[in-house]
Each structure stands twice: as C-alpha cells, then as structure tokens.
C-alpha cells in the first residue's frame, strides 16, 4: 500500500493524516500492511499518543518527596505513611458517553479501576466529574451517565465517594464524563507494568475478545458529527461482575512473585497494552500469536483481535515456567487465562497468526513515533468585561439565596449521591455532599481525603487563571476535611485543538495548572487529555481541566465536616472578601450574564489560609469547616446550615467600602472558609490567625432553624431545603 494506493477513506478510518502515513512509510522503509496500519492508527491517535499535548504536558511538575510513581504508568502513586501508597488516576470517557451514556460512563469507570489494579493496588474509592447541557434538555445524558456510573461502581463494590456535576449549554452535545479511582497498596507491593525478562510469558486474562470497541481510541480523537451514532459499535459494553472477579484474582496474584507486571487493556486494546508494556523497558519487544487469544465470536481477523477494545481484560507478564500457578489463581475465579506470547529483546512487536507473521513493527514507532503536532495558537477575543457600577444593587439577599440554592450548579447533589453506594468498604468517614470525602485506612489512624474540582466558567473567561482556581479549590476542599493536600491527577477536557483559539486554551490551561501546582507544591502524578470535544464545529466546550486531588490526615479523629454542629458556636468567615463577581454563579443566576474575569488568585494567600485551617483543626479548635466557592459566602453558609441541620443568627452584614453588599454575600473571592468554633476556642483561634496573617471575621452564632441576617433577611431551613433539594429534579 503506497500513498497512492492507500485511499483517503482508509486513512480516515484509522484517523491518520497523509503526512503521518508518509512518516510511517519512511520509518518502516515499506508501506505498512492493513493490520499494521490499524495498529499505528490507534496508537497514534490523540487519545493514545498525546501528540498534540505531549510537549506542553512536560511543563507540569511531577516530582516531590512523596511521589513513588509519576506519569507514564497505568496510574500515579504517592507515599501516604504507615507503609501505604495511594495509587490514583483520572480518565475521560466523553465521546462514548455522548453516544451511549450508560455504557460509555460504565466502561469509563471499569477502565480506571483496571489502571489502579495494574499497579497492584486495591481500589478503595471512585469519584466522577460530570458536565452536561442544561436540564431538562440533557436529561438523557444525565440519567444515562449517572445510572451507568452507579451500575458499574455499585456492582463491583467500590464506593463512589465524590465528584462534581455542572450544567452549561456548551456541553449539550458533548457531555464530560471523567472517572477517578483511588487505590491502596503496601509500599513493597507497588507494581509497574514493565515487560521485563526476555522469554517471560505474556498472558491475557479476563474476558474473551470480541469485536466491540474497535477504533474506540480513534473515535475519541475526532469531533462528533451526525454520523457519530453510527459509531455506537465503537462503544464498549461493561461487565462489572467479571471485573470484580478480575479484581479479586489480581489481588491474589499480587501476593505471589510469579508475576512481573500487570497491564490494563483499555483504549487500543491488545496493541496498546503490549506495546506500552514493552516500551517501558529499553530494547524490549514482544511476540504474540492472535490465534491463541480466546475469542467471543468466530471469524475474527488478526486486525479485529489487535484492535478490539473488549472490556475487563488484563495482560500479565509471568515468570517463565510459572504460568500454571497464575492460571490456577484465575480459574479459582472462573476466569479464562491464556498464554498468547512472550517477551523478546528485539525491540519489535511481532504479531503471528499461528505461523504467519501478520504484523511486525518497532515498539518505539508504535509508542513514540507519532510526529508531535505543533499547532497555531491565537488568543480569542476577550470575554465581555464586567462593569460593576452598572450592576443593579442587591435587593433581597434571601430571595437571591433561594434562587442560587435552587440553581442546578449549586443545589444538593443528594439525588445523585444516593444512587451510588458510597459506604461499601466500611471506610467512608466523611461522606460525599460537603467538601472532599475522607476515607479511613483501616488498621491505622490515617485518613485519605479526595476530591475533584473545576470551575469551567472561570476557565472559559481565562483558561490560565481558571486552571489555577481548579487547583486552589481542590486544595481547599481537601483542607476543609482537616487533611493536607498531597498530589494531583488531572483530566484536561478541551475542544478541537486544530482551531488556534482552542490550542491557545490548551497552552494556557497547562501553564495555569503548572503554576498553581508548583506554588502549592503539589505534584501531578497521573492524568489524561481529552480533546475534540466539539460537535461538527458548532459547539465547543469550555476548557474543563478537572483536578483530582488527594490529601492525608494523620489522625482521622481530627477530621472536619461542613455542617454546623453545636448550638451557640461562633460562625466565622476565614479570609477576606473582595468585589469578586466576575464569572460568578450570582451573576449568571441573578443577572443572566457570564462576564468579567475570574477572581484574582494569590496562591501564597491560599497556602497561608490552608495552613491556618490545618493548624486549627489539628489543635482541635474547629467544630466544622467549609470551603467558600461557587455562590460565595452566603451559599457556603447556607450549606453549613443545611448539612448540619442547624440555623445561624447574624447581625446585618455591612461591608466597608469599596466592598459591595452583593459581593460580600455572593462574591467568589478564593482563600475563604466558613468555620464554626466553640466559644472557648475563640481566643486561641484569633491568636493563631494573627500568627498566620489571615483575617477572620465573626458572621454570627449557630442555632435555631432559621438563617437570619438581622434586618436584611430571614429564611427557615425548610424553605432553603426545599429550594436546595429540588434543583435536579426537573
């Protein structure tokens, strides 16, 4: 097949450009055959090769004292104390979920779980970051995705403990479904998916291989259009029961030393897992025989087998001679396992169909050969500016609060949370619904906090600053549980980078993430990039860099929750407020506009406020803590009341000029928390705050069943609850 004979339709099918094809022919010094072309197509897709983002991603900080494994493996790993490592990663499943919401979301969950298993870790928690178009128009996406996540997570017995969901027009055709998994492994049992040891066997375990999901990775690397629904066969179907068995078998496997490595089969199936596993060891290669791969159906070609994205499969590298030991473990769980090849030292992936060689490609060409794409970058027109003096003054803060509480972006997530098993494992000590979730690590006093965050409206208005906000907010959410932020995984969801404005957004997003993570000393140890979240050029998503973060508390008995706890406690605002209405939920809900710049972010201030909260929590001074984020101080305060089932009485809020009343109530200045404190701890807290140079101000006193700012408004908890609980039900 020369360039003349390979027709453009064929290249489009494997999502390669004519230029890329030329590079392949040049490197191979021959045209690839059809199987090879398919293999290169999937591995050179944006989804697998990161050819557009790779150079930029190198700017992200990925090292730190606690880091055991940075990007490049199935998942990142950090040391968390008492001999434990936390393994975690976030990944997108946007394109499949747009076409087939239930299965798309379910298999997204399944895939990220396998990434954690491959590191030898037992998955302990799932989180999901979701974006949809507004309800009720996007109800089918929303319902399908939520059901799919629950269907998989509930069945496999891993608690779904956190995440976020937002609604915006820009996601109407391109929902965002990002799944994060966190696992635990003893330090000395952390595994890496490296195909070491020439002659060691490659075993394929788990599900049989079918024709499902062929070209899934390529499909995820193009824009969606009218023909996308024809791609439904490119969406895989999940079997959580099988994965549960696979999980338990892999845990048993990790107790033996018969296994060299375990690698998930995800996007690009067998091709990618074998190539990646070998690619991590210089000079290593692999031979596999597709006729040995257990199949779900007859008549599958070598091409089908190599590109299938059938779920619930793992590649295991086994010490030569110990294959039967591994087979026994899998057969205990009624799982198929088969030796399909071995590790070589020739640097090539050679694919046999019995005796016939059907493909032979250099590993390096597969994993690293895709020419990096340097794209044009142009800053788009700036967002409309916001003239504060033209904003009508706040009339009734109580009425505004009720409308904000009922806004789908701020309202209670209980209708979603209760559809997910968030308790299995007997470890969830701070349940979802407040800030971060916190899981205890059994047998220790340690607690592991986890969250995902991103305000994409900020990112739309200023991608660099918006990405910084995502990091800062995630850190505040971790801190609000009393845990110190430790490390990050990121999922960059953007539109088509071939458009210069989008490529600029990508550059800015990565620059912002890098800056914030460096400032807050948070390494990014794993991540994923999902581009082409467009529909036929008409609607592009906001840049949505979802930040997944974990943190550690040394003794979880010092943990904090958002809800007010004791009558008579002082309720305080930590941090100072500015006229930060740009890009706010208040502006959108009350004035129907998205304008201005996101709040300025002083990362040194963030760090100082976080240190104060952690010090006060450790000293036992705080009864509750909650991050002020979307919706500002008053929404955060209302949440403290609703989550604690307790009201608050405050004197009238009279901000000093130039702070406006609307900004004092609803502005979104970062670096702020609502905390409650017993009266006796007040002096100590004040001293501590002065020492950290952080302003604290008294808002009011906890108690009763109303929220009142004297002379300004008074609402009953019932009224507020009604607004808050109903936001997702229409």
């Amino acid at each position: 097949m020369s360039l003349d004979t390979v027709d453009s339709r064929r290249l489009r099918e494997v999502a390669l450009t004519p230029e890329e094809y030329r590079v392949i022919v040049e490197k191979l010094r021959r045209p690839p055959n059809a199987v090879e072309l398919g293999m290169l197509g999937v591995l050179w897709s944006e989804h697998c090769s990161y050819k557009t983002s790779k150079a930029l991603l190198r700017r992200l900080p990925s090292t730190g004292e606690a880091v055991l494994q940075g990007p490049g493996e199935n998942a990142g790993a950090v040391e968390i104390g008492s001999g434990w490592a936390a393994v975690f990663k976030i990944e997108s499943h946007n394109h499949p979920s747009a076409i087939e919401p239930y299965q798309g979301a379910a298999t997204g969950v399944g895939g990220i779980i396998r990434d954690v298993i491959a590191m030898g870790a037992r998955p302990i928690a799932l989180l999901d970051s979701l974006r949809f178009g507004p309800l009720p128009g996007s109800r089918h996406h929303f319902d399908g995705v939520v059901a799919g996540i629950g269907g998989y997570g509930n069945c496999i017995g891993i608690p779904t403990v956190g995440g976020e969901v937002y609604f915006d027009e820009c996601y109407a055709n391109n929902p965002i479904v990002n799944a994060m998994c966190v696992g635990l492994v003893r330090l000395d049992r952390l595994m890496r998916a490296r195909a070491e040891g020439t002659g060691n066997s490659l075993m394929l375990v788990g599900a049989d291989t079918g024709r499902d999901g062929i070209h899934g990775a390529s499909f995820a690397s193009v824009e969606l259009d009218e023909s996308s629904s024809e791609r439904r066969p490119a969406v895989q179907v999940g079997n959580p029961f099988l994965e549960k068995c696979l999980l338990e078998a892999c845990m048993d496997l990790a107790q033996t030393d018969a296994v060299v490595a375990v690698q998930d089969l995800g996007a690009a199936g067998l091709t990618s897992s074998v190539a990646e596993c070998a690619g991590r060891v210089p000079g290593a290669g692999a031979r596999i025989d597709v006729s040995l791969v257990p199949r779900r159906e007859r008549g599958m070609t070598p091409y089908d087998v190599m590109l299938s994205e059938s779920q619930e499969r793992m590649l295991v590298v086994v010490q030569r001679g110990r294959e039967s030991e591994v087979e026994r473990i899998f057969s205990t769980w009624d799982l198929t396992s088969a030796v399909i090849g071995d590790v070589t030292d020739d640097g090539h992936l050679t694919v046999f169909d019995q005796t016939q060689v059907v493909a032979r490609l250099p590993i390096e060409l597969l994993t690293d050969g895709a020419p990096p794409r340097r794209l044009a970058s142009v800053a788009p027109d700036p967002a409309p500016s916001l003239r504060l003096d033209s904003l009508p003054p706040l009339v009734d803060p109580g009425e505004s609060l009720l409308r904000l509480l009922a806004s789908p972006n701020l309202c209670s997530r209980r209708p979603i949370i209760r559809r997910y098993d968030h308790m299995v494992g007997d470890a969830t000590v701070v349940a979802p619904g407040g800030d971060a979730a916190l899981l205890r690590i059994k047998g220790t006093r340690l607690g592991l906090a986890m969250t995902t965050d991103c305000n994409a409206r900020y990112c739309h208005l200023d991608p660099n600053l918006g990405a910084q906000h995502a990091v800062a907010e995630a850190a505040r959410n971790i801190v609000a549980t009393g845990a110190r932020p430790l490390a990050v995984t990121d999922c960059l969801n953007l539109a088509n980078p071939d458009r210069p404005e989008v490529y600029w957004e990508l550059e800015e997003t990565i620059a912002g993430l890098a800056h914030a993570c460096r400032s807050l000393e948070l390494p990014i140890v794993s991540g994923n990039v999902s581009l082409y979240n467009d529909s036929a050029g008409t609607s592009a998503i906001h840049p949505t860099p979802v930040v997944g973060m974990i943190g550690v508390i040394d003794d979880y008995s010092h943990r904090l929750e958002a809800g007010l706890k004791h009558e008579g406690d002082f309720v305080l605002l930590v941090g100072s407020s500015l006229n930060d209405l740009g890009g706010s939920e208040y502006l959108k809900v009350e004035h129907g506009t998205v304008a201005g710049r996101p709040p300025a972010l002083d990362l040194a201030r963030e760090a100082a406020v976080n240190r104060l909260i952690l010090a006060a929590a450790k000293a036992g001074q705080l009864r509750s803590a909650h991050d002020c984020a979307d919706g500002g101080m008053l929404v955060a305060l209302a949440e403290c009341c609703l989550l604690g089932g307790m009201g608050v009485r405050c004197p009238a809020l009279r901000p000093e000029a130039p702070l406006r009343l609307d900004a004092a109530f609803f502005g979104e200045t970062p670096g702020r928390f609502i905390v409650s404190v017993g009266s006796r701890a007040m002096p100590e807290l004040q001293t501590l705050a002065r020492r950290h140079h952080v302003e604290i101000s008294l808002l009011g006193m906890a108690g009763g069943d109303t929220v009142e700012f004297e002379g300004q408004f008074r609402l009953s908890l019932d009224q507020m609850r009604q607004a808050w609980e109903g936001g997702l039900l229409h």
Partner: protein, 229 residues
C-alpha cells in the same frame, strides 16, 4: 459466605474479627461443608453479577444445599441485602425483593423499628427500639402474596420495619416501597434472618453510627463461631 460478586464479605469480616472479636471463617461458594460454624452470614453484593434476577443464580451455588440443611438443623443463617435476596430465591424465607419503587438504586441511612428482641440476632435490642442502619440496593422492595403477608404478620415474623426517627411506621419512611414497610423478616423457627439494611456498615461511630453492632453482639454474645458465607 463468599460468592463471586459478593462485596460485603470483607466488611462483615472486619466487624466480626476486628470490632466484635469473634471467630471468623470465610466460606467459598464451592465449599461443601460449613467448617463447624454456628452462624452463617450471606453478605451483600451482586452474587454472580445478579444478572438474571437478584439471587436467582446464587441459589444454585454448591454451598446452598449445605446451608439449607444447616438451617433445617436449626443453625443460624443471616442474609444481609443480597443475602436476603438469595434466601428468598432459595425458599428459606418467604416472599421476594423487587425493584425499588423509585426505580433507582438507593444508598442512604434509614431508621428501623425492631419488632422482635427474642431472637439470637436481636437479643441486645429492646422492644420497639429504633436503630439507624444504612441501605444500599436497587431491588429491596419486599413483596409477598397477601396470604403470605398476613401469615408473616400473624406469626410475628417481621423483625425490622422502616420507620421515622420517632419510631412511627409511615409511608414517608419507606425507602423502597416494601409492603408493610418490611425491612427484615425471620423464618418461623427463628433461626433464618433476612434484612435489606447493612448493619456491618454501622458498627463503629466514625462510620456515622454504631447501632449495627447490637446485632453482631447479639449473635457473637452467644459465644458462637461466625461464618461469613
């Protein structure tokens, strides 16, 4: 008792072993004997994926024969969530668990009114005590024929009923549409208990409540060897 797809085995095991301090033994679905245990727990999960209908495949597991005979001999059998569904499918308890009335999975805290305290499972509770225990299921709506239901009521076989915090058995406190707010029942002999809520998830205060511990202590207090089957 561990079937492929069971996931509350480790949580039950944790409570028995680490919280209560009773003797713990895991039993595999292919096992042919119960290793001398005094109480067999069938924990929550999705046994065999629950693909056909909850519990419908599990009832044919090799170990179920043995568990049936064990129950006939008066041994204590305790089905929690999926375990309750399996016991109904296996005919060890009457009725069935059908799809929640909301048609959605529900994971949340519920209040239970304890209606029997003369049982091995509830001896540490007081009559009509209200305990707080979470549920986590998609198919937990208890259903039985009217005749079966009235027999259950007449015999006092309803052990737990969903109620509000004040102990009132009202429709608003029913999370799944169960008939008569039924959350758990016992067989006539009093040795086979099935319940949808998860007591193993509330045996320590840091998990949000410790009421479930009363049930485990009731069983373990008898000095029994408990088997998580």
């Amino acid at each position: 008792m561990v079937f492929p797809g069971t996931w509350s085995d480790r949580d039950c095991g944790w409570v028995i072993d680490q919280v209560v301090g009773a003797q713990l033994q895991y039993l595999w679905h292919k096992d042919a004997d119960l290793k001398g245990c005094d109480c067999v727990i069938l924990p929550g999960g999705f046994a065999y994926g629950d693909y056909l209908r909850t519990g419908a495949i599990a009832r044919f597991a090799p170990v179920m024969q043995e568990i049936g005979e064990f129950a006939d001999r008066g041994g204590l059998v305790w089905g929690i969530c999926n375990g309750f569904q399996i016991l109904c499918e296996a005919g060890l308890l009457p009725g069935a668990l059908i799809r929640n009335a909301s048609l959605e999975y529900r994971c949340e805290w519920t209040h239970l009114s304890v209606e029997r305290t003369d049982l091995a499972f509830t001896s540490q509770c007081v009559e009509r005590e209200v305990i707080r225990v979470p549920i986590s299921h998609g198919e937990g709506s208890y259903f039985a024929e009217p005749a079966v239901l009235s027999r259950l009521e007449q015999n006092g076989q309803v052990v737990f009923r969903y109620c509000d915090a004040g102990g009132r058995v009202v429709p608003g406190a029913n999370p799944n549409g169960s008939l008569h707010n039924i959350a758990g029942i016992i067989n006539k002999r009093g040795n086979v208990l099935g319940m949808m809520p998860h007591p193993e998830r509330c045996a320590e205060p840091e998990l949000g409540g410790a009421d479930g511990l009363k049930l485990f202590r009731s069983v373990a207090g008898r000095g029994l060897k408990v088997l998580v089957s």
